[in-house]
Symmetry: C2
Subunit: 202 residues, 2 copies
DNA sequence: ACTGCGACTCAATAATGTTTACATCGGTAA
DNA sequence: TTACCGATGTAAACATTATTGAGTCGCAGT
């Protein structure tokens, strides 16, 4: 998320002093470890060790552990957004696109349990009360677009909001229930939930 | 919040050696602290301190910290179930009861952020893949009953399952979004989500 | 070559979860 | 009553953690 990168001279490719973009390396290592550990079993020191750097080096790039978590969360949200974007494009937009986005959301959560939990647990720094901003920004935007494509042009802003909320609540709910082992991760059930109620809302 | 108190003879009232039902006291202290702290900022030692007992005493009643969490989670689920039960009864069952249960669920989550997060995060010990068992047992049962009251008698088992899943996913989703500050906790929005889609499903 | 500053290391601190060995209470059986 | 024993609690110790502060190293521009 660093902004400056107009460099042209030798060995640029971003700030690269001793290590070579430690910040990104830390985030990636963290995401890597999150594939096998739960977030509570993931220590700052272990991430640093995994990158081959002293534990305190982390503090040159993040004010504290939570900040690292937030960065990881953001990158996860980007991946999720990209995955959903592809799904929507493949489905050709419209209502099938909407449903595909929902499926992609749940599948992402099931494929990345630790990361998904982190994404939903990590508090956005301040009080937002806006569906944009937050780490889930890009995914949110996509959701809004899907809603806009599905609802008739006469629909009110409230209707848009409620439909978006409904869809998000639904996919988040199934995801968590399946991650927690309360519901078997059955593709047919996912399909049933993602398609049925949405089409009735349109 | 103490439950058992049918005592007739002198100082029985369950196992009470040095302290007097430490286990319950620890769970209650944990729940108390969860009202103001997040679960990650809640240490075993602090709970013990709050009860006025050594930190290692906890291990006479719980094998580890997670077990304490699980016990707290269970008690929270019971409270939630009771709250929903009252709501259903007040609404007189049927579809209004179903909606009332949904509202009660979301309101519980908003009133107990730390506890609710704990309840959803705490993994049930083994792999269940059953919507019963788990800490959310009583709430689950209530949900099933509501669904049974609302669906026609001809509905298949799958339809029951999907409708229950849909409802739970929905209320859980709104709850989390509001707890995370992504959506303002507006009672009207809650009502809109809880009532509208369910009635369309019936 | 010198200097400054950004990126990193080392050592230390307070706090945590958990284990081990020990103390104490209360009921049971002699 | 008295001696015991297991359930319950304590104290000390250990490994690990997040975070801080005082340094060290090396690239950049002068």
């Amino acid at each position: 998320m660093k902004v400056k990168d107009n460099s042209v001279n030798i060995q640029n490719a971003a700030r690269k002093y001793h290590h070579g973009d430690l910040r990104a390396a830390l985030v990636n290592a963290g995401l890597e470890l999150l594939k096998e550990r739960a977030v509570d079993d993931l220590s700052l020191r272990e991430v640093a060790r995994h990158v081959g750097v002293s534990a305190t080096a982390v503090y040159r790039h993040f004010p504290d552990k939570q900040a690292l978590h937030y960065a990881m969360s953001q990158q996860g949200a980007d991946e999720l957004g990209a995955s959903q974007g592809n799904a929507v494009a493949d489905a050709g937009g419209g209502m099938p696109g909407f449903e595909a986005a929902g499926r992609a959301y749940v599948l992402f959560a099931l494929a990345n349990p630790g990361l998904y939990r982190l994404m939903m647990t990590t508090k956005s720094s301040a009080d937002h009360y806006e569906m944009d901003s937050s780490a889930m920004g890009s995914a949110m935007l996509l959701l809004k677009n899907c809603v806009a494509e599905v609802l008739p042009p006469t629909a009110s802003a409230l209707e848009h909001k409620v439909m978006a909320l409904h869809a998000w609540s639904l996919v988040h709910g199934i995801s968590m229930l399946m991650l927690d082992g309360l519901v078997a991760p059955d593709g047919e059930v996912i399909d049933a939930l993602v398609t049925m109620p949405i089409s009735q809302l349109a």
